[in-house]
């Protein structure tokens, strides 16, 4: 039993060591040794890291309110406990849909439907940097990718929120109602403040998941790996670290492979920082 615990810890050490050993040559690699014609590792990693963060932030922005809302529906607003359980099952199922299926759906169903919306956004809000430039005719854009990832991280965030909403002391809820509060006033005064750290921690968890999301982004985006752009409806899109690795790896050999492993190390570091921050916030909330 003790051996198993040691083995689990060793697996993690192994992951780090193998990645570092195989990826480190890439950090000093020069022109010609890296994929996407990059001059050095930083020139390769920076646009991709931007892309990862950009898509993840868009997904988080789209999913945050619905996640809080659906968690409220499953706890405070649920007309009966059975409805809460049903909603829980729906969320579990949504979380279990494989990302490759979401990718296929985003690419073949969602993207074409979104084209008119993008044209409308360009026509009416084109002065914003997000919607300037010619909109994509295929709909395979950063915004579409963000929407698909939003659907994927929604259940994770909602689960965290639901847990913290369910911990609201019943006395607070009843006190608010006794003072004549409406349901929304009660929610704002009693439920949301108590659960604040849980909501933020859920958001961080979702952000971490969105950063690592691979297949859906790789399939939806038609990407230009060395591009940094805030435009979310263009046909020229930045790629993300994970999507770039997945689409480049199968055809790579030698120093290109080591560059991709180095990119994996960068992605690991980013998502580790996000998840540690999330856990800190959750712990602080639990201590209060």
């Amino acid at each position: 039993m003790k051996g198993a615990a040691i083995a689990v810890a060793l697996v993690l050490v192994g992951v780090l060591v193998f990645l570092a050993v195989n990826g480190s040559p890439a950090f000093t690699a020069g022109e010609g040794e890296l994929p996407a014609h990059a001059k050095n590792f930083l020139a390769l990693a920076a646009p991709l890291a931007f892309g990862s963060l950009w898509v993840a932030v868009i997904a988080l922005a789209l999913a945050a309110l619905p996640a809080v809302g659906v968690a409220l529906a499953a706890t405070i607003y649920a007309p009966a406990p059975r409805f809460g359980r049903f909603l829980g099952a729906v969320l579990d199922l949504l979380a279990a849909v494989p990302s490759v299926v979401f990718g296929l759906w985003g690419l073949m169903v969602l993207a074409p439907v979104m084209v008119p919306l993008y044209e409308w956004l360009h026509a009416h809000a084109g002065w914003l940097p997000f919607f300037s430039g010619e909109p994509s005719v295929t709909g395979r854009t950063v915004l579409t990718a963000g929407m698909v990832v939003a659907v994927m991280i929604l259940p994770i965030m909602a689960a965290m929120c639901r847990e913290s909403f369910a911990l609201t002391p019943p006395a607070l809820i009843e006190a608010a109602y006794a003072l004549g509060a409406t349901r929304w006033e009660m929610t704002r005064a009693a439920v949301l403040p108590v659960a604040r750290s849980g909501i933020v921690a859920g958001g961080m968890l979702g952000l971490g998941r969105a950063l690592g999301e691979t297949m859906a982004v790789a399939m939806v985006l038609s990407a230009t790996p060395d591009l940094i752009s805030l435009n979310v409806i263009s046909s020229e899109n930045p790629s993300t670290i994970a999507a770039f690795i997945a689409s480049t790896f199968p055809e790579s050999t030698g120093s290109a492979v080591s560059a991709l492993i180095g990119l994996g190390l960068v992605l690991f570091a980013i998502s580790l920082v996000v998840s540690i921050a999330g856990r800190r916030i959750a712990k602080k909330g639990a201590a209060r």
Binding site: A5, G69, A96, I261, S275
Partner: protein, 314 residues
């Protein structure tokens, strides 16, 4: 209240008073409108969650059912260009790789959880292991694939691809899931039961084997099933280390091995001339994969009531 008002049975004065109090305590229009808006927003959020799920399921059924025939389950893609062909090779690969992953991750994960709950106490190794599990949960799945690739390149030479490497990558994802859920379930086993066993003079391992594990079994099983559900749809790590092939491969230790998620991906990414046939196969694969995931979810849901029973008895 309205009923008493209309019939006026308890005496008009009393009813009038009650109605007046009620009117006075009724929230003002602005507050009522705000409340309505909030309720509508919550209902909207539920719709935003349920609608994409329904749309994805509908798309898979609508576009996948065209190819849900016998050939799909009896043939591989070997030598197939255009129409026809099946996913037997991918289904076999998924079953083999998932089974290998489960064989690695479930015993290791449950043993580690037993150590954490039953033996560790405040040992430093316990907090170290928990921290390692926390970090492993946040490893993006594609990074697990890269690590498995690096490990197998080191052992068997660069560029090695095999089903076993895929299983190693998936095990890195599944182990923390199993450790966490098992630890949670084992903690629910009442301490009284353990103490009763120890008081009768049983050694600790016997208490664990005869009391703790049987009590926690449904929960442990549910955790394991959810762990399998978590990895069975993983695509990215398998794309990297198990690779893809059109033919059958029963040997985990050697050669590329197709899996369902990678099958779906490659049907889309490496289309032949007859694109409709490839798209149909991709959606049919998606439908089969979703059916597998739903069955696993339902199976895990059917088990937990017995964990709840432990909780109640405590």
């Amino acid at each position: 209240m309205t009923a008493t008002l209309t019939t006026g049975q308890p005496g008009p004065a009393l009813a009038h008073d009650a109605a007046a109090t009620l009117a006075a305590s009724r929230p003002g229009l602005a507050r009522r409108v705000k409340n309505r808006i909030a309720t509508a927003a919550v209902v909207g959020a539920v719709a935003l969650t349920a609608v994409p799920l329904a749309l994805v399921i509908w798309a898979a059924v609508e576009r996948g059912s065209a190819r849900l025939d016998l050939t799909l389950f009896s043939h591989s893609m070997r030598g197939v260009v255009g129409q026809g062909g099946g996913l037997l090779h991918a289904l076999t690969g998924t079953l083999l790789i998932t089974a290998a992953t489960a064989v690695i991750a479930i015993p290791l994960g449950i043993s580690a959880a037993i150590y954490l709950t039953e033996y560790a106490g405040r040992a430093r190794l316990a907090s170290l292991t928990r921290r390692a599990v926390d970090i492993m949960v946040s490893i993006p799945s594609i990074v697990a694939g890269l690590a498995a690739y690096a490990l197998f390149s080191l052992l068997f030479g660069p560029g090695t691809r095999s089903g076993l490497a895929g299983a190693a990558a998936l095990a890195m994802i599944m182990i923390p899931v199993v450790v966490r859920s098992s630890e949670e379930v084992l903690r629910l086993v009442p301490g009284d039961l353990r103490e009763a066993g120890l008081a009768l003079g049983s050694p600790r391992w016997r208490v664990i084997r005869k009391i703790v594990l049987p009590t926690a079994l449904p929960g442990l099983t549910a955790g394991a099933v959810l762990g399998v559900a978590r990895i069975i749809g993983e695509t990215a790590p398998l794309l990297l280390v198990a690779g893809f092939t059109d033919a059958m491969n029963y040997n985990l230790a050697e050669g590329r091995m197709a899996t369902l998620p990678v099958f779906i991906y490659t049907q889309w990414s490496a289309k032949g001339l007859d694109t409709a046939a490839y798209d149909q196969r991709a959606w049919a694969g998606a439908l089969v994969l979703m059916a597998v995931v739903v069955v696993l979810q339902l199976a895990a849901r059917a088990l937990p009531p017995q964990i709840a029973k432990i909780r109640r008895n405590r």
